[in-house]
């Protein structure tokens, strides 16, 4: 009896081992396609992402991502202005710092292209050391804040600064914050200069008027609709972009504060791919004050 039980037990054990081992052997084969699929998905998601240049084995691939988005507005015929990711606040703070006014705002972050510039300079000297041939010189790209600081120190007029910055931006040498790009492909220097004055006022202890800049009822492109619902009246506001408008200018128009552009941008994500891509005639939803 004991022998029978023992034999049965051994048989059960061997059977168990078989059951356990078989799927174990098949599993990697069965899972293999799944794993490669996972890999594909992660790669596809990862590749277009803006990853910091510091991370090894990854590269910032801004251009290829932007390209298909640009194709949509066919009516945009104006030259494209180069933009930088830094905020208006940072640019303004840099200008004021250049003029000797401390705002306490975050300093202008060094753009990624400057890291690239440093890296390139180092590489050029490496190559030169090996080839003995003179390397091509890299000229420093002008920065928006440096141009504005110099012009203001020289006492230049707003019109002069506008012409100067737009001439530099037209060559593609000057990058500006996205919200300063107007619907007709220029740089809205009026918004920049207004923000500099406003921030300087704050920095020196003054008050800024953050109410809407103009009378909204009497302005071109503004459309206010009253929507009656069951128990409430909702006011919906729209704005048709006029020639020469920048998103910064529209933010000042409705909120009195250039940095409120994010409110408008977020509400129009569906039709506005990037803050520098507003087009004349485009209809924007203007959210109500929170």
């Amino acid at each position: 009896m004991i022998r029978m039980t023992l034999a049965f037990f051994v048989f059960a054990l061997v059977l168990c081992a078989f059951i356990i081992l078989r799927p174990g052997r098949d599993a990697p084969r069965a899972q293999a396609p799944d794993m490669t699929q996972d890999v594909e998905v992660t790669r596809a998601v990862m590749d277009p992402l803006l990853t910091p240049p510091a991370a090894p084995e990854t590269v910032v691939v801004a251009e290829p991502v932007a390209a298909p988005v640009v194709a949509a507005p066919a009516m945009r015929i104006t030259p494209q202005i180069a933009t930088i990711d830094s905020s208006m606040q940072a640019t303004t703070a840099a200008v004021l710092a250049g003029l000797g006014v401390q705002t306490g705002a975050e300093p202008l972050p060094t753009p990624a292209t400057d890291e690239m510039r440093d890296a390139t300079v180092a590489i050029l000297s490496n190559i030169t050391a090996r080839t003995g041939a003179p390397a091509p010189e890299i000229t420093q790209r002008p920065t928006l804040d440096a141009i504005v600081v110099q012009a203001l120190q020289e006492g230049q007029s707003d019109d002069y600064i506008d012409a100067l910055i737009n001439a530099a931006a037209a060559t593609g040498d000057l990058a500006v914050p996205e919200i300063l790009v107007t619907s007709d492909g220029r740089v809205d220097t009026a918004v920049l200069l207004a923000d500099i004055v406003a921030q300087a006022t704050v920095a020196t202890g003054g008050q800024i008027n953050s109410s809407p800049a103009i009378d909204l009822d009497d302005s071109a492109g503004v459309e206010v609709r009253i929507v009656q619902r069951a128990d409430e009246t909702v006011q919906a506001r729209f704005y048709t972009v006029q020639a020469g408008d920048s998103l910064g200018a529209i933010a000042i128009k409705f909120f009195g504060d250039v940095n409120r552009y994010t409110t408008i941008f977020e509400a129009n994500r569906g039709t506005l791919s990037s803050p520098d891509r507003i087009r004349t005639g485009q209809r924007l939803v203007i959210p109500n004050e929170a």
Binding site: P53, A119, T120, A122, L124, I127, R130, P136
Partner: protein, 213 residues
């Protein structure tokens, strides 16, 4: 006196015998080592004579996460030759010495400074990406000429041999793809796929770069 001389002779004999033994790890049967001069700087490539030596640390690893460290194909792109160690050495002795070619370490500077192939120049892969607004400067330093219409002419550009950490590194394939995108002729590009891992696995001389990064 004679006894001393004999003792010295014996010691020297043992020493030279040891030296002869030390030549046992050669590059090929015909040559133990090679020396060459690139732009006034002399480089020597030999092999580690310690026959018990093994790889340790990073280059002894077998299983890196994939992605991103996936096995790369033998051929990066059509027309771009894949080379082994002897061809790398010949490239250095012939093309690089004549000023017609450059051996390029495509890795990031922090890898480069830990040791590279003697004679290599560090051009990290991401500086050849089109995202680098200064890429044309590098291409011009490599011998491309900017034409009046803004395009680059690669007629006089140097032959480039690129490598990175090994068959699991996409850095040199990526650099090669970027160069091809920029218009660099495939016939002027070649790839040492084995990279630093194969180079070190054969005990070939590893150079620690000075004042370069």
């Amino acid at each position: 006196m004679m006894r001393y001389a004999a003792a010295i002779g014996l010691v020297l004999g043992i020493f030279t015998a040891d030296m002869a033994l030390a030549q046992d790890v050669r590059i090929t049967p015909a040559r133990a080592q090679t020396s060459f001069e690139i732009n006034g700087q002399t480089f020597t490539i030999a092999r580690n004579q310690d026959t018990s030596d093994t790889l340790t640390g990073e280059f002894a690893r077998t299983s890196r996460e994939c992605p991103p460290f996936c096995i790369t194909p033998m051929i990066v792109a059509e027309g771009v030759a894949t080379l082994g160690e002897l061809e790398v050495i010949r490239f250095l002795e012939q093309d690089a010495v004549a000023g017609a070619g450059l051996l390029i370490d495509s890795r990031l500077p922090d890898w480069f400074v830990q040791g590279t192939i003697p004679g290599a120049v560090n051009v990290p892969f991401q500086t050849l990406d089109m995202a680098n607004p200064y890429r044309d400067h590098i291409l011009r330093a490599l011998g491309a000429v900017k034409l009046a219409d803004g395009t680059l002419d690669f007629g006089q550009a140097r032959a480039l041999l690129l490598f990175s950490n090994g068959a699991w590194s996409d850095q040199s394939p990526r650099a090669i793809r970027s160069l091809l995108d920029a218009g660099y002729p495939a016939s002027k590009l070649s790839h040492y796929r084995g990279g630093m891992q194969s180079w070190r696995a054969l005990g070939l001389t590893v150079a620690i770069p000075r004042n370069e990064g």
